[in-house]
């Protein structure tokens, strides 16, 4: 198992993404951060804190569980759901979806469907901590913490303090 991202690198990447979000949207006035369960939620909360630190703006943070929108329900191991909650009506806002790893794009496809049922955002952008390639759908991220070239036989493991009690990104060969 190889560690490819240290906690301080994760922090730096998130700070850069926060700045890019502010730059691209000319501030954070209409932005709604939406964390995708499980690890997108603490990442969205961290972006909220960083943006508040620099701009003194409290960007609302929503959470989204895409469990009801997946296209592989027959193969999923569980039917647990995390909370879906929007602190503000997403309609008319710029929604920034936040997730830990972008891979096939199927999670984001499901998240886009879910957002469409929750309102009509003015725009939807995508922020990911790591992009490992191998897309199966025409989906691309707007903000990337780190590009991780991987083979499909490898597994990318993201661990965050809030959810796992330790922090970092590792790559391991699938057994």
């Amino acid at each position: 198992m190889t560690k490819v991202m240290e906690p301080e690198e994760i922090d730096r990447a998130l700070r850069r993404i926060a700045h890019e979000i502010l730059e691209r949207n000319k501030g954070a006035e209409d932005v709604l951060l939406v964390g995708i369960h499980t690890r997108g939620v603490p990442l969205a909360e961290r972006l909220h804190l960083i943006i508040d630190e620099y701009e003194n703006v409290k960007v609302p943070v929503g959470t989204l569980d895409i469990g009801l929108y997946r296209d592989d329900l027959d193969r999923r191991p569980t039917t647990e759901l995390g909370a879906t909650a929007m602190p503000e009506d997403p309609s008319g806002r710029t929604v920034v979806l936040v997730d830990d790893v972008l891979y096939t794009g199927r999670t984001i496809r499901a998240a886009l469907d879910a957002m469409a049922d929750l309102g009509r955002p003015q725009a939807i952008q995508l922020a990911v901590l790591a992009d490992r390639g191998h897309r199966q759908l025409p989906i691309r991220p707007d903000y990337v913490g780190k590009n991780l070239p991987t083979s499909s036989s490898e597994r990318v493991m993201v661990r965050l303090q809030e959810t796992d009690g330790k922090e970092g990104i590792w790559i391991e060969e699938r057994v």
């Binding site: 009801l68 929108y69 027959d74 569980t78 039917t79 647990e80 759901l81 879906t84 909650a85 049922d117």
Partner: protein, 305 residues
């Protein structure tokens, strides 16, 4: 979880997990578009061998809000009147492509037989006077929404316990979740088989007015419930939730009823319409808990069997 037949054999952790899942579906039902694609392509068949309005409509609404298709069946218009057996009816509906069966039947245990015959996930929507597990789940959810938990609450179930599948499912669900259940009924409307039930018994509703939840049951005339006590006015005197009794309840206490209500018998009209009567909340929660159960059974785990 392969079937949802009875609350007796569900663990506390599983009940709480189903209630948590139900909370998520309460949120889904509050959305501008209260529908999700989770069960697209699945077909849920409703087999109601006994009359029902709310339960059948509630299951249909739940299935449709999950994007499942539904097929419906009622005995008066079906081949049952031509003498088809229960088994043949069930297998016929399976052959049409049903992925799950929601079954109500007047005989105890019919759902277990249908589950064996068809191998499909079966949801018990009421069997005789035995079980009505989704009702118990929606009742638990309604109580949990108001009090935050069931643990340590005192709940009185009042009325025709003997003929009530709701009472049987509620008793096991409430007590598994940590509540203390007291049954209040004329002795002729108490079950004969109460040995080992986790309940206390009281002889008049006036003995339990200090509880957190008063759960009123309907006198089930169709199951012989009205013939075992002298008169309705006498029933109201000892067991009815009158305005006077409602005024004596704790400030935060709630009143529940599985419906259909007999206003003026087990519940006074003014009580039924009071905000602390949670009867319409129960109905609304019914859709969410049925979504949760359908999603549990058809949303992936069942295919691991």
């Amino acid at each position: 979880m392969k079937h949802f037949l009875s609350t007796d054999d569900i663990s506390r952790a599983d009940l709480e997990s189903l209630l948590d899942l139900s909370d998520e579906f309460v949120e889904v039902l509050a959305r501008p578009i209260p529908k999700v694609p989770a069960l697209r392509g699945k077909t849920v068949a409703m087999l109601f061998f006994e009359a029902s309005t709310r339960t059948r409509l509630s299951f249909e609404r739940a299935a449709k809000a999950l994007s499942a298709d539904t097929m419906s069946f009622s005995p008066s218009t079906s081949s049952l009147s031509k003498g088809e057996s229960l088994k043949d009816t069930a297998l016929t509906i399976k052959a049409m492509g049903a992925d799950a069966l929601v079954v109500r039947h007047q005989f105890t245990g019919a759902q277990w037989r249908i589950a064996d015959w068809t191998g499909l996930p079966v949801l018990n929507a009421g069997d005789g006077a035995h079980q009505h597990p989704t009702q118990a789940l929606l009742d638990a959810l309604t109580i949990r929404q108001h009090f935050g938990k069931l643990d340590g609450l005192r709940i009185a179930i009042v009325g025709d316990i003997r003929h009530s599948r709701v009472a049987r499912s509620d008793i096991s669900t409430f007590s598994t979740l940590g509540a203390e259940v007291t049954l209040v009924a004329p002795s002729t409307l108490l079950p004969v088989d109460m040995e080992g039930w986790p309940v206390k018994v009281a002889g008049s509703i006036d003995d339990v007015l200090d509880v957190d939840v008063v759960y009123l049951l309907r006198i089930q005339a169709e199951r012989g419930g009205a013939s075992v006590f002298p008169s309705l006015p006498e029933y109201v005197t000892r067991f009815g939730m009158t305005r006077e009794r409602f005024a004596r309840l704790a400030e935060n206490a709630i009143v529940m009823h599985p419906g259909p209500m007999n206003r003026g018998v087990e519940i006074a009209p003014e009580v039924a319409d009071h905000p602390r009567a949670r009867i319409l909340e129960q109905v609304a929660n019914g859709v969410a808990v049925r979504m949760a159960v359908l999603f549990r059974l058809l949303g992936g785990e069942a295919s691991d069997e």
